[in-house]
Amino acid sequence: MTKMTRTQITWIEGSIVEDDIHMSILEISKAARAPAELIMSWVSEGVLSPAGSSPEDWRFSNDSLRRAKTAAHLTHDLELNTPGVALALDLLDEIARLRNQLLRENIT
């Protein structure tokens, strides 16, 4: 049978990714549920642009987290390869940019 359980937790303070914290390759790998090798292949394809020169120094932004999550979904769900993911993300960004432009101009 289905069980419903409830856990009550008191006020939790969060940290805003990028404003307060920058993510390492291990953190973004865990958060996006993508192996570190895949994260590295996305960096070399230009899908993610971390600050820092070597993988140990890499620091990822919130935008990278967003892109890595989408990349992980697309890789898994649509079996896209890395260049395909890169193209899809660029096109999705372009659509988002155009949508925001419509929003700014108040055209809906």
């Binding site: 419903m4 409830r6 990714v17 865990k30 958060a31 192996p35 979904h73 769900d77």
Partner: protein, 326 residues
């Protein structure tokens, strides 16, 4: 329980080949993928597609499904016949879709129908109830959820109670829906699309691994007055023609809840944005509030009003269509 017509979901004939099923699934999966399609219903449709495909791509499952007969209709009340799957064997990898551990796909939340036929708990009658889609994945250690807040919360900060629904599996494979209430402080300055990391609020760790983190992706409720782009906020300001032409001072509401007096310079044109620096979403570098004037023309109904327009006409030698050269 409602019957699900997986062939109809994928839009293929019952006689479709494996290749046809795969092509139909791929095409629809691209169309309804929740990262691609921003319609609210896309996620549910994508899950239905995944469920249909997971059965029809698998020869054994498809054969077992086909044995139910071709006369069932989508949404029809359905009880699986006894021993319907006798003689069929398939591995129960539905929850992971064969990608244990890593695999950041959108999965889980199969229908009751699927669960009772192919799910791990198919020996149980009934299933878990409706599972409100909270964007919650449950594999791995870090959890993700989306929450919507009001724009004013980003200006002032807020405390919000959010409810998350997570299907979890216990050691004996039973699935239960865990409802968690979290009281979260929303920090001032958060923007749509940003993630709030709640350390240690994700899935329980294995061994000494410690708990994962919970990431809350922030979205704003639609606002009737303001439009938000990143940290900048836009406000449309209707002006009467004489206000725009002669200049005036107006009171405008700010998203933070206060009122600002704004001077409208003489000769203000529709669409000529006025920037109120730093009045956007606050942060280290605060965003700006843009006021976008739009001139609203009153209709001429009474004689006095018509006369006023005629006076305007006489006062101006106004040719608005010179560029048409007609």
């Amino acid at each position: 329980m409602k019957f699900r017509d997986y062939y109809e979901t994928l839009g293929v004939a019952r006689s479709a080949t494996e290749a046809e099923i795969k092509a139909a699934y791929r095409k629809l999966a691209r169309k309804y993928h929740p990262d691609v399609n921003k319609e609210a219903s896309a996620e549910d449709q994508f899950k239905e597609l995944g469920e249909a495909y997971s059965v029809l791509k698998d020869t054994e499952k498809r054969a077992a499904y086909d044995r139910m007969g071709a006369n069932w209709k989508n949404g029809q009340d359905f009880t699986p016949p006894p021993n319907w799957n006798e003689g069929f064997e398939y591995s129960n990898d539905n929850y992971s879709d064969g990608h244990p551990g890593f695999g950041g796909g959108h999965q889980g939340n199969q229908s009751e129908f699927f669960e009772s036929l192919f799910g791990q708990g198919r020996y149980r009658q009934g299933g878990r109830g409706g599972n409100p889609s909270q964007g919650m994945d449950f594999k791995g250690q870090d959890h993700h959820a989306k929450i919507s807040i009001d724009l004013v919360d980003a200006y002032n900060g807020a405390k919000r109670t959010i409810t998350l629904h997570m299907p979890t599996q216990d050691t004996s494979g039973h699935v239960s829906t865990q409802e968690r209430k979290l009281d979260v402080s929303i920090p001032k300055g958060i923007k749509a699309g940003q993630n709030l990391r709640l350390a240690g609020q994700g899935g329980p760790g294995m061994g000494a691994g410690g708990s994962g983190d919970l990431y809350l992706e922030i979205d704003f409720h639609p606002n009737p007055i303001y439009r938000v782009d990143g940290k900048d906020v836009y406000l449309d300001l209707p002006l009467a023609p004489w206000e725009a032409a002669l200049g005036t001072a107006v009171n405008i509401p700010t998203p933070a809840g206060s009122t600002l007096e704004l001077t409208i310079p003489a000769g203000t044109a529709t669409g000529r944005k006025m920037r109120l620096k730093g009045k956007g979403i606050p942060s280290k570098e605060a965003g700006d509030l843009y006021v976008v004037p739009s001139i609203v023309l009153p209709g001429a109904e009474t004689d006095l009003q018509k006369e006023a327009y005629q006076t305007l006409e006489k006062a101006f030698d106004f040719k608005p269509r010179t560029h048409l050269k007609g």
